[in-house]
Amino acid sequence: MSDFDLSVIADNLPFLWQGLQLSLFLTLLAIVGGIILGTVLALMRLSGFAPLSLFAAAYVNLIRSVPLILVIFWFYFLVPLALGRPIGGFYSALIAFVMFEAAYYSEIIRAGIQSIRKGQVHAGQATGLSYWQIQRYVVLPQAFRNMIPILVTQGIILFQDTSLVFVVSLRDFMTVSSIVARTEGRLAEMYVFAALVYFVICFAGSLLVRHLQKAKTA
C-alpha cells in the first residue's frame, strides 16, 4: 500500500488518453446508432402490424437474453464472415454495440411512447394529421422529452459497457490501462486509477441525470 507509484500514470498519460478517447468515441457513436435503431424497433413493435411487431419483439427479447460479451464474440465472428473481408475491430465492436444497445433503447423508447396519452394521438388524428406526422410532431417529441434522464442513464451504462471490448483486445481505456498495468508491473496503481477515471465520469453523468429529473418535475 505504501509504495503506490503514481509516476507510472504520468509516464503513460498520452497512451491512456488515447484509450479514453476511443472509449468515449465508441460510446457516442453507439448511443446515436442505438437510439436511431431503437426508435425504429419501438415503432415496429407498436405498429399494430403483426409481422413487424413480432419481429421487433423477438429481436429485442433475444438480445436482452444474452450477455454483451457473447454478442461481441458473435459480431467479431459474423461481420467479417458476412462481408467476406475483415473490417477491423473497431467497426465490429461498433456494430455489436449498436445492435445490442438498440434492444435496450427500444424498450425505453417504447415505454416513453406508451406514456403519451391516447388522447394526444386522437387529437392529432382529429385534425387530419397522418400516422407519421403524429409520430413526428406530437408523440416522439413529447416521449423523448420525458425520456431524456433515462436515456442519459442508459448512456452511462453504455460507457461502462464499452470496457468489455477488453475481451477482443480493442484498445479502449480499459485495455490500455491493463496493458500499462502488465508491462510496468503496476497492477494496483493502474486498476485503481482506471476505477477512479470511470467513477468520475459516470458519477458526473449521474449528477446530470439527477439535475435533469429535477428540472423535469419542477
Binding site: R117, G119, Q120, H122, A123, G124, Q125, A126, T127, G128, L129, S130, Q133, Y137, V138, P141, Q142, R145
Partner: protein, 242 residues
C-alpha cells in the same frame, strides 16, 4: 350531413354500442346525453373514425366513414373535434398548437396559418396568451384554445366529447359561451355533455343513450318537457334536481 345507421360495436365480448341510428343535419346542434358508461363518448368518436365499428354505417357529407377504402385522414381534417381532456400538445405553444395541422395537413403557408390562429385566439379572448404553453393556462383557457385549434381547420362540423366535464365549475361557462356563440353562427355540432342548460338553450335535438342504445332522439323541448322512457325521466330527475 352526418348519418349514423344501425351501428354496433364490441370491446371483445362486451357490447358498447347496439344498433344506434341518428342523424345531424347541416346547421343543426344535437346534444348526446346519458349516464356514464352509456356509450355516448364512443358514439361520437365513431363519427370521425377514431373508434372503428363492427356493424352498421356512418356517412358524413356523402363519405362512408365505415368503408375500409375511405381516406379517414382527409375526412378528419374537415371535422373538428374537442376532447374532454383538451389534448393540447404540451410541448408546443398555443400558436404552434393552432398552426401545426394547418401547415402539415392543409399546407397553408406559415403567414396564413398564423393570421388564422391569431384571429381565432382573439375571438376567444386569449390573444395575450398565444406564446404560452398549455400547461401555463387554466383548464377553461386550455379548452377554449382546443376549440380554436379545431376551428382553424375550417371544419364543416364540430364534435364535442364532454368538453366541460374536466373543468372546475367556475370555468364551465367561459367554454359554454364560446360553444353557444358557435351554435348561433350556424355551425353543425354534435355535443356529448351533461350541461342540460346548454342543451336547452341551443340544441335542436337531444339524443339520450343508455347501455349502448339510443333510447330517445327528440326535439329539445319535447325531450325536457315530456321524456318518454323511464330511464330518461330518471336521468333528468337526477341531473336537474341539484
Amino acid at each position: 350531413m352526418i348519418t349514423i345507421t344501425d351501428i354496433s360495436k364490441w370491446y371483445g365480448s362486451f357490447q358498447v354500442l347496439a344498433d344506434c341510428t341518428t342523424a345531424v343535419e347541416k346547421g343543426e346542434v344535437v346534444v348526446v346525453c346519458g349516464p356514464s358508461g352509456s356509450g355516448k363518448s364512443t358514439l361520437i368518436k365513431c363519427v370521425n373514425g377514431l373508434e372503428p365499428v363492427q356493424k352498421g354505417s356512418i356517412n358524413v357529407e356523402g363519405i362512408e366513414v365505415t368503408d375500409k377504402s375511405t381516406n379517414l385522414t382527409k375526412l378528419r381534417a374537415r371535422i373538428g373535434m374537442v376532447f374532454q381532456h383538451f389534448e393540447l400538445y404540451p410541448h408546443m405553444s398555443v400558436r404552434e398548437n393552432l398552426c401545426l395541422a394547418q401547415e402539415k395537413v392543409l399546407r397553408r403557408s406559415r403567414d396564413e396559418a398564423n393570421a388564422k390562429a391569431e384571429a381565432l385566439i382573439d375571438r376567444v379572448g386569449l390573444l395575450p396568451h398565444i406564446e404560452k404553453h398549455p400547461g401555463q393556462l387554466s383548464g377553461g383557457q386550455q379548452q377554449r384554445v382546443a376549440i380554436s385549434r379545431a376551428l382553424a381547420m375550417d371544419p364543416i362540423a364540430m364534435l364535442f366529447d364532454e368538453p366541460t366535464s374536466a373543468l372546475d365549475p367556475e370555468m364551465i361557462n367561459e367554454v359554454l359561451d364560446v360553444m353557444v356563440e358557435l351554435a348561433q353562427d350556424g355551425m353543425t355540432m354534435m355535443v356529448v355533455t351533461h350541461e342540460m342548460g346548454f342543451a336547452r338553450k341551443v340544441a335542436d335535438r337531444v339524443v339520450f343513450m343508455d347501455d349502448g342504445r339510443i333510447v330517445e332522439d327528440r326535439v329539445t323541448d319535447q325531450f325536457f318537457d315530456h321524456p318518454e322512457s323511464e330511464r330518461a325521466q330518471d336521468f333528468l330527475g337526477k341531473i336537474l334536481n341539484h
